[in-house]
């Protein structure tokens, strides 16, 4: 197959489409929805016996006091529904209480032991114990446990009951939702994913660390390989634009930002560099007419991207058939990034390199 050589005329114009795309993407990036992984809350996924009306269910749940977001899908393995419930205040508070309790409990236990041996330590123990009791009582209330911390003799037992109360905060929250769902929906299997505020924060922290490390390592290696500033920067701009476009698409189409889509974005760093590197190597390390080299590279590069697009399209079709979120998020983000890569590599990176080569040569 032969395409006309895009770089024959005023190739600088080629930069316009990717720039437009990037601008549009920048507008949509703030609209990216966080998935349960990064937002916290609860996601109930059900495989249904028969189709239901999602809006209807959502209204019913909201009437019952559950601020739910209901999505219904028809998949190759039968209808499926997802109910997402945002982070509940009780859960947030329970996590805070657990932190406070854990930061105190060892000290109070030691004081208790000392006070048994030595009456002079008693006042201090009692004072601290009152503080600890207050925290525990709030947790007992949250968890609906019918007990008072004052009635519990030793700190050991208090700790045990406290943990029980913490767990019932979560299980009460889950059962209150599943019980309500049970009233309206018949399902053959149900899976519940609860992400606590703590876990959410942990995921966010880890993801941030991974992204920073991944970006820094990639930048270092790109510079190490090329050892020339302009091409290195061109390669990195190409990759960055690619990620920006992928993020924009996520915002536009409502693909949630979750752990799988995050993994796909990371893969895009490596993958978008693939074609960028191939192009740059050919442009700077070989002799010949720059425009011909760019055109040649484009033929190779689009085939490379094409095969990857094919693989991820298959995954995407699979995702729409099964509605497995992991498949959907990875394939959708990868597809967006790969299509973005076509624009970014051949519109931005190639143009920058041509400009550099022709200016130098």
């Amino acid at each position: 197959m032969e395409f006309p050589n895009l770089y024959k005329g005023d190739y600088r114009l080629l930069i316009i489409p990717p720039l437009l795309l990037i601008l549009i993407s920048l507008y949509f990036i703030p609209q990216i929805q966080l998935g349960v992984d990064f937002k916290g809350g609860m996601l109930v996924s059900m495989n249904l016996d028969e189709e239901i009306n999602g809006e209807d269910l959502q209204t019913k749940l909201i009437d019952d006091g559950i601020d739910a977001d209901v999505r219904v899908f028809d998949t190759a393995v039968g209808p499926k529904a997802e109910v997402e419930v945002p982070q509940n205040e009780n859960l947030v508070r329970a996590d805070e209480l657990k932190n406070e309790f854990n930061s105190m409990v060892e000290e109070v236990a030691l004081l208790e032991v000392r006070s048994i041996n030595n009456a002079s330590a008693m006042p201090e123990y009692q004072e601290k114990r009152v503080e600890l009791n207050a925290i525990a009582n709030e947790m007992f209330d949250l968890g609906g446990l019918n007990t008072r911390a004052e009635l519990i003799d030793s700190v050991n037992e208090l700790q045990k009951d406290f943990n029980d109360a913490y767990n019932s905060v979560y299980s009460n929250f889950e059962t209150s939702i599943t019980n309500t769902i049970d009233k309206y929906v018949e399902y053959n299997s149900i899976s519940i994913q609860t992400v606590s505020p703590r876990l959410k924060a942990h995921f966010l922290d880890s993801a941030r660390d991974v992204v920073i490390l991944s970006a820094v390592l990639s930048i270092i290696f790109v510079f190490l390989f090329f050892r020339i500033i302009v091409p290195s920067i061109a390669v990195l701009i190409g990759a960055l634009s690619d990620i920006v476009i992928a993020l924009g698409v996520m915002g536009f189409f409502g693909i949630p930002f979750t752990l799988p889509s995050f993994a796909a974005l990371l893969m895009l760093i490596g993958y978008s560099l693939d074609t960028d590197v191939m192009l740059t190597m050919r442009m700077i390390k070989r002799k010949g007419d720059p425009r011909e080299k760019a055109y040649d590279s484009m033929k190779t590069g689009t085939t490379m991207t094409g095969t990857a697009i094919v693989a991820f399209s298959v995954l995407f079709v699979l995702a729409t058939l099964t509605h497995i979120p992991t498949y959907f998020e990875i394939s959708a983000v990868a597809l967006a990034g790969l299509i973005g890569d076509l624009f970014a590599t051949w519109g931005i990176n190639a143009v920058l390199l041509l400009w550099y080569a022709e200016k130098k040569g």
């Binding site: 030691l110 994913q193 752990l259 590197v277 190779t300 095969t307 992991t326």
Partner: protein, 563 residues
């Protein structure tokens, strides 16, 4: 190259020998087949890269391919519960822990759930205060068993004279400490101190009153409703060949006594086994893998739930007491971990609220060796008192069950997806190059990569993320082959070697960057997507080390002649 020359080629022979060793390893050590395959991948790859001979490159890839197929044939592939159905139980920790502690926790939980035998239980950390326990293909009974194992983990019991003297719930965990030199008394070399709440002190005082020099049998997770059947050799433990079995079994029985829940002991050849019946329909019989088959059959027949242990776990360790009687010091199968002797100071009936001390001495003259022993003893006693190697308390969250039928459909659809990806990709390459000579090798190499990846990842666990990674690897893996093909087809007048070097310069860099970008994810604790990182990285590595060089050899042969 004909067979004779091949057989005389030392490098080829080396690959062949390694290959045979790996096959043996995969068959004998099925558990480690994943690691073996990974090692084989790196080894063959490095050899192919350093030796550079064309036939070695092909041989390396072929060897790895056959290994992978053999592995799939011998060892069953493992899939996550998304693909086979099963149950996921979240375990919530009492407080967040650091990575080392998390590692310990995961290991301990793995060990505890291992008792299930056949089923592969998957234990993994989520964040720093949660662990997922996944049981594929689980039955209702398996789940109940695991739930109870997990929720009753690490129960400490100190038993003296068949009565519970002290139980873990009464010990203040934060008061457990190692004694320093100045605090040690009576010639002890090491010591661990701890405090007990009021109820605990009273119970202890009552139970041990007047029992000076009795052993305090310290158990972790002492099994309940169990009988134990030993061979005579096992009963002798470390006491030596000539030890009097009668006396020893008396000591053993003493250590197994507990009001209402004695563990009954039977020694094969000494006790009559024909008439024992299980107390309940849940009574378990512990027996070693070395025990005669007919005994096990007998126990099955009588309605026991037979649980097998390694002979080392079944054999008790004795230590001589002050009266030179053999006392059971530890006995792994029943969770007896240590048996310190009660000092007269604590057995006079007065309540001691200042805390207790467990101390002991070490043997040997070498100071380094002594220090090591002291340290080990202290750590062991500390961990027993804290309720085992679990450094924090755990509780169970609400479980999720995925039906097996649904998982199977997901798996089928995914496998269809992989095939579809291959077919469509081949079509695309076909249209691009329009030459069977080019298309066939590319597809052959892609299929090879796919088989190796499936076999490798299947030795660990293929979950949704890993499956997505495999499909991605197919699409991305073919890239390098396109680069090679395009370089070779170029009419630049360069030599074949130069063209190949050009191609590999690009490929090397692509692979390194793809791996580098994914590596941080691999070492993160975002376990839900680590499968994706693993398959992407392995795919890239496999391509760089073996399949691209092999493809280059084929392409060189097929396309090189054209010019």
């Amino acid at each position: 190259m004909d067979t004779d020359t091949l057989l005389k080629d030392k490098k080829f022979l080396a690959i062949a020998v390694l290959f045979i060793l790996f096959v043996a390893g995969i068959i004998v050590y099925g558990k480690y087949s994943g690691l073996l395959l990974m090692f084989a991948l790196i080894l063959f790859g490095t050899l192919a890269l350093t030796w550079k001979e064309n036939h070695i490159k092909i041989a390396g890839l072929a060897a790895l391919l056959i290994l992978s197929i053999a592995n799939m044939a011998v060892n069953p592939m493992k899939f996550g519960i998304d693909f086979v159905g099963g149950t996921r139980i979240p375990v919530v920790l009492e407080k967040p822990v650091d990575q080392n502690t998390m590692g310990e926790l995961v290991d301990t939980i793995k060990k505890r759930t291992k008792v299930l035998g056949l089923t592969e239980v998957n234990v993994r950390a989520i964040g720093d205060d949660r662990i997922y326990v996944e049981i594929p293909n689980s039955t209702e009974e398996d789940i109940t068993f695991i739930e109870s194992t997990l929720s009753h983990q690490g129960v400490y019991l100190g038993i003296t004279d068949g009565e519970i003297a002290i139980s873990g719930e009464d010990i203040y965990r934060s008061t457990i400490y190692a004694l320093t030199g100045a605090q040690l008394q009576g010639g002890a070399d090491w010591g661990v101190g701890f405090s007990v709440n009021k109820k605990g002190v009273e119970q202890f005082t009552n139970v041990v009153e007047g029992k000076a020099y009795y052993p305090l049998y310290m158990f972790l997770d002492r099994p309940s409703d169990v009988i134990i059947v030993l061979t005579e050799d096992e009963a002798k433990g470390n006491a030596g060949e000539d030890a009097p079995v009668g006396e020893l079994t008396e000591s053993l029985r003493d250590s197994l006594r507990l009001e209402n829940d004695d563990i009954e002991l039977y020694v094969i050849g000494k006790d009559d086994l024909s008439n024992i019946t299980p107390k309940t329909n849940k009574t378990k019989a512990y027996i070693s893998t070395d025990a005669p088959e007919d005994v096990r059959g007998l126990l099955y027949g009588s309605g026991f739930e037979v649980i097998e242990f390694e002979p080392e776990e079944m054999a008790p360790v004795y230590t001589p007491s002050r009266q030179n009687k053999m006392v059971v010091e530890s006995w792994e199968a029943v969770g007896l971990l240590s048996s310190p002797t009660l000092s007269p100071e604590v057995t006079d009936g007065t309540s001691n609220y200042r805390g207790y001390i467990i101390s002991g001495s070490v043997s040997g003259a070498d100071p380094a060796e002594r220090a090591k022993q002291k340290d080990e003893n202290v750590k062991k006693i500390e961990s027993i008192l804290k309720g085992g190697s679990l450094p924090v308390q755990i509780s169970l969250g609400s479980k999720t069950t995925l039906p097996a039928s649904l998982g199977k459909e997901f798996l089928n659809l995914s496998l269809i997806g992989i095939t579809a990806a291959l077919v469509v990709m081949s079509l695309l390459i076909g249209i691009r190059y329009m030459k069977v000579k080019i298309i066939l090798p590319i597809i052959a190499i892609s299929i090879t990569e796919l088989i190796i990846l499936l076999s490798l990842l299947g030795s660990f666990t293929i979950d949704l993320a890993a499956m997505a990674g495999i499909i991605a690897a197919i699409g991305v893996g073919v890239d390098a082959q396109i680069v090679i093909t395009d370089e070779l087809l170029k009419k630049t007048g360069q030599s074949l070697m130069d063209k190949m070097d050009n191609a590999f310069a690009i490929i090397k860099m692509n692979v390194i960057i793809a791996i580098v970008a994914m590596l941080p994810l691999l070492f993160s604790d975002l376990v839900e997507v680590i499968g994706f990182a693993i398959s992407t990285i392995l795919g890239a590595l496999l391509g760089f080390l073996l399949s691209r060089p092999a493809y280059a050899v084929i392409a060189e042969k097929l396309l090189g002649k054209e010019e």
